[in-house]
Symmetry: C2
Subunit: 194 residues, 2 copies
């Protein structure tokens, strides 16, 4: 009835995430958003500057939520237990929000300092969890890059259906993280031996 639907930026963002997670990132169009919100496409420009701006909002929200979940997963845990908990949470986040995760990996504009800061906060969390392993600064950063690669690589291939074989995915993931952690220790010991 009323021409005032009471929309705001947050409502648009939430609906965008909903569409992305249901139909994929490419389904987040101004037209689809308008239809889902019961509004003509141009009306959305009262709340969001355009599609690129909306993508940026989605990515920012995604990193914020991911950081929350990983922080909580790491709380009260340390070393391998903490790494496994964070890893599982990362993977579960990507499963819960496939479209949002896709946005985070595709629609990133690294000129934007806000996005950069949010992404770095996740890195900082992992660095912190790696402290007890006694790696020096560079070693720790290399290790974070490695863990990120593992987490993103596995979740990305899993989500796009590239693991075709009928072999338990949870088991593959657990082993991968385990293997990486075992390798970290083994390589540290080797260096001490020499």
């Amino acid at each position: 009835m009323s021409p005032r639907k009471g929309l705001d930026t947050t409502a648009v963002l939430l609906k965008a995430v909903e569409i992305a997670d249901r139909d994929g990132f490419d389904a987040v169009t101004v037209a689809a958003l308008g239809k889902a919100l019961g509004v003509r496409p141009p009306s959305l420009y009262n709340h969001v500057a355009g599609l690129p701006e909306l993508h940026k909002l989605m990515v920012a929200a995604g990193y914020e939520r991911l950081l929350e979940r990983m922080t909580q997963a790491a709380a009260g845990r340390s070393e391998n237990l903490a790494i496994h908990a964070m890893s599982n949470e990362y993977r579960q986040f990507a499963k819960d929000h496939p479209g949002l995760y896709e946005a985070m990996m595709r629609a990133v504009d690294f000129e934007d300092p806000d996005l950069r800061r949010r992404a770095e906060a996740v890195v900082a969390l992992v660095v912190q969890v790696l402290v007890p392993y006694g790696l020096d600064k560079d070693d720790a950063l290399h290790a974070v890059r490695g863990l990120r690669s593992i987490l993103h690589g596995f979740t990305s291939l899993e989500r796009s259906g590239q693991f075709g074989l009928p072999l338990d995915l949870d088991e593959s993931f657990r082993r991968l993280v385990d293997t990486f952690l075992a390798g970290l220790c083994s390589m540290k010991n080797e260096r001490h031996d020499s």
Copy 2:
């Protein structure tokens, strides 16, 4: 001059790959292809059924080339040397063909048996290289999933600029593969111990 430009499917495919690698996967449009080939957009439909079909051709060509390169890299090498060689080749392929690699990760239709076969051929190659490690069948498949995750994760994050810090990327990559291999050995030994 002549209204016959002598185009064929291969020429269109090659130009599509060229555009993708130069300007990104999303820049591969019928309009851009037509302009690059000196032809009006509808003319392309004489050689390619449409954009989805073209994407499928790109992905198929990408897997074929990747398999060639990894096979050659593994030739005459074994164990860790072979794994490192294949890994470096994988990463270099993604660097040489960023847009094509993007297509392989984004535009995959797994209903298509041809694409499925090509992707599985790469998996089979890695399985073969893992034979000397003496893993049983399931262990080997889990390991292949792990290695794929590592390779895709690292190259993907590297290419999208998500590794912000000024820390040597070659070194990070080498260490990641090393860590994984060390972990594989270490976990095999642990199992033998128990």
